[in-house]
Amino acid sequence: MSFSTGMTWAVVFAVFLLTIKPMGTYMAKVFTFQPTFLDKPLSKVENWTFRMFGISRDSSMTAKQYGAAFLLTNLLWAILAYAMLRMQQFLPFNPEHFPAVNPLLAFNTAASFVTNTNWQAYAGENTLSYFSSFANLSFLQFVTPAAGAAVGIAFVRALAGKKLGNYFVDLTLVCTRVLLPLAVIVTLLLVGQGVPETLGAYLHAHTLAGGTQNIPRGPIASWEAIEHLGENGGGFTNANSANPLENPTALSNIIEILSMGLVPVAFFYAFGVMTGRRRLAWTLTAVAGGFFLVMLALVYFPEQAGNPILNSLGLATHQNMVGKEVRFGMGGTSIFETATMAFTTGSVASAHDSFLPLSSLAFYLGMFLNMVFGGKGVGLLNMLMFVIITIFLMGLMVGRTPEFLGKKIETREVSLASIAFLLHPLLILGGTALAVYLPVGMKGVFNPGPHGLSEILYGFTSAAANNGSAFGGLGASLPFYEISIGVVMIIARYASVLAMLLLGQSLLHKRRVPETSGTMRTDTPLFGGILFGSIIILNALTFFPVMALGPIAEQYLMVAHHLF
């Protein structure tokens, strides 16, 4: 491992470790309405908004009301996003005169951005106007992660035995107190590294070699900041953060990595503060952190060793540089890809389709689990879902009624958690099976052999995990994929979130049972280990067969120098 790889990883880990406590404490303060240093400039605007639209900070919603408010805002945003894409040619700030986005693509894009997925079946730099970027999709990059975080906060309140709270208050505060202040800082840091931030039209350069080059620019830095802070992942351009316009230096690469992880990691600690279970929060952080390290190793070492087929040509170096950029180094590229899959961002600093099969296992792992910190709020929800299932399994083994945070876990809770858990493989495997079965699905395959199956599988996994990255060879702009992936994104986002809200409500209304010496402790390394193990077992049972047909088969064939 090179010096620069070691330092890059050390800096990223150090920043996460140093910020988790202050950032988590700050967020817990915001969401328990305690004073913070941002009250002065912001509370006037917020309070005016709440008064103006009849929102009361103190009145709490029921799970049904909270869920309805969540769905209604999302529906409104989706309709507006769709309409604005369809009317792109009439809207301002369109210096390249891009026409309206076609109906299927507009549906897919609206569904994708409103579900915080940011799957893109188009190339941004030759499809979208500046207005569509900053006033339409970038808006969704703020509010949709905020809406997901709001649900996470409501769930945490329920676990703490408090009322769920008001959705509109939570939504607003995530935007004004967490995302916006960070976005301002990150934008300026990125511009300093060379990311454009302008309304100026595309540049026409006359190159030294006597050709011309049409170079996009635009308000890229402000997009890039919220793209990562909201774990959105939709790129301003097609190549996303591999494009030097979006990610020009090794340092901008680190800034983007930190932007995606800062809030989701601290969310775990905020959960500990709000429920008074800091030790449990650290246990869960350790479990997620453990998976992060596994993924990082799984990405880095195979790529560093290179593709045996190409290595046999006898080149000077063996790193797999297909689809990668020189400036980040292998260490920087690996931790970016690990972070983007762990935090379910879905931006990419290299081409995932060209990664080696073993490295791609890490990508699938991040999306299958969806709780290696995950998106803010939503990742924690998924983690707690696994906690509840694990507690239930442990209870079965020792023959006791399982409890979590002083509440009995009974049929209803286990059912809801199971629905949330099983929905994920159902959408992924069902979608993949359908695509493989139908000729229109197979038409989208770009790489032959087992890698083709991996491409389809990756697409549906990305949609179900609301990740948004892709094996870019897949023909995502085929109508079949625009529709099926759009539908999967919508079901995945809303069904699981609503199931978890109902679960929170149901726990809230239970009587608290006193902890005894017979209560299974959840804040110990022992439980952390069991949780880690049961997450692996549950997911291996679900996904191993399809992994064996895709990446694992390809790994064996690659070692045997088999080409397609």
Partner: protein, 203 residues
């Protein structure tokens, strides 16, 4: 319940839209222009008042023998779909998977092309980045080794000595950022610009 909820749904969305979709980008554009006038506008590279490119976006120098070449680029033309290397208007990787025959063929062809154009170039001297295509198709950099092995070709085409060109490449090497991050590399556009200015200053 639904009607009562409509007011906050619309109201909060509107306030947030004004704040996040209008105020935020415009304030950011203003501040960026003020604080980073060069970077915020796109880091333009000009030569005698003519725009020749952008500092961190690679461009195509092939098949001109007198220039250093960048990495293979898999970008295509939006209108025709045909290969158009370093098309910044349509950034894209090749997306070739590790067991795709095309990947091996492309790399082998690239090696042969380099060996045909560069006298005495051995395969074991060629670093992977010079024969494997980049993630954006616009990678501005190559590794130091990838620049050094091109010197015999550039020397032959320009008449400059290899010692002088080696010195020129060395002077263009960008170290690790802040001394720690990323990779030692050479920006191909900047290297070629230096070369171009030297050749034209002589005339």
């Amino acid at each position: 319940m639904k009607m009562k909820m409509l007011r906050p749904v619309l109201g909060v969305s509107l306030v947030l839209w004004v704040l996040l979709a209008l105020a935020y980008p415009f304030v950011m554009m203003g501040m960026s222009r003020l604080l980073f006038p060069y970077q915020s506008q796109g880091s333009l590279v000009q030569l005698n008042g003519r725009l020749i490119g952008v500092a961190h976006v690679g461009q195509n120098f092939e098949p001109h023998l007198q220039y250093f070449w960048g990495r293979p680029s898999a970008t295509t033309s939006v209108s025709t779909g045909k290969p158009e290397p370093y098309n910044a208007y349509a950034s894209s990787p090749s997306n070739l998977g590790p067991t795709n025959q095309q990947l091996l063929t492309d790399v082998q062809q690239r090696i042969r092309f380099l060996q045909k154009t560069t006298p005495g170039l051995q395969t074991r001297k060629i670093p992977a980045d010079l024969v494997e295509s980049s993630g954006s198709g616009l990678d501005p950099d190559i590794t130091v080794q990838a620049a050094l092995i091109q010197i015999p070709r550039v020397a032959k085409a320009t008449g400059l000595s290899t010692a002088f060109l080696t010195q020129m490449v060395d002077s263009q090497v960008k170290g690790l950022q802040l001394g720690v991050f990323g990779k030692r590399r050479v920006n191909v556009l900047q290297l070629n610009l230096t070369l171009y200015q030297f050749l034209h200053a002589q005339k």
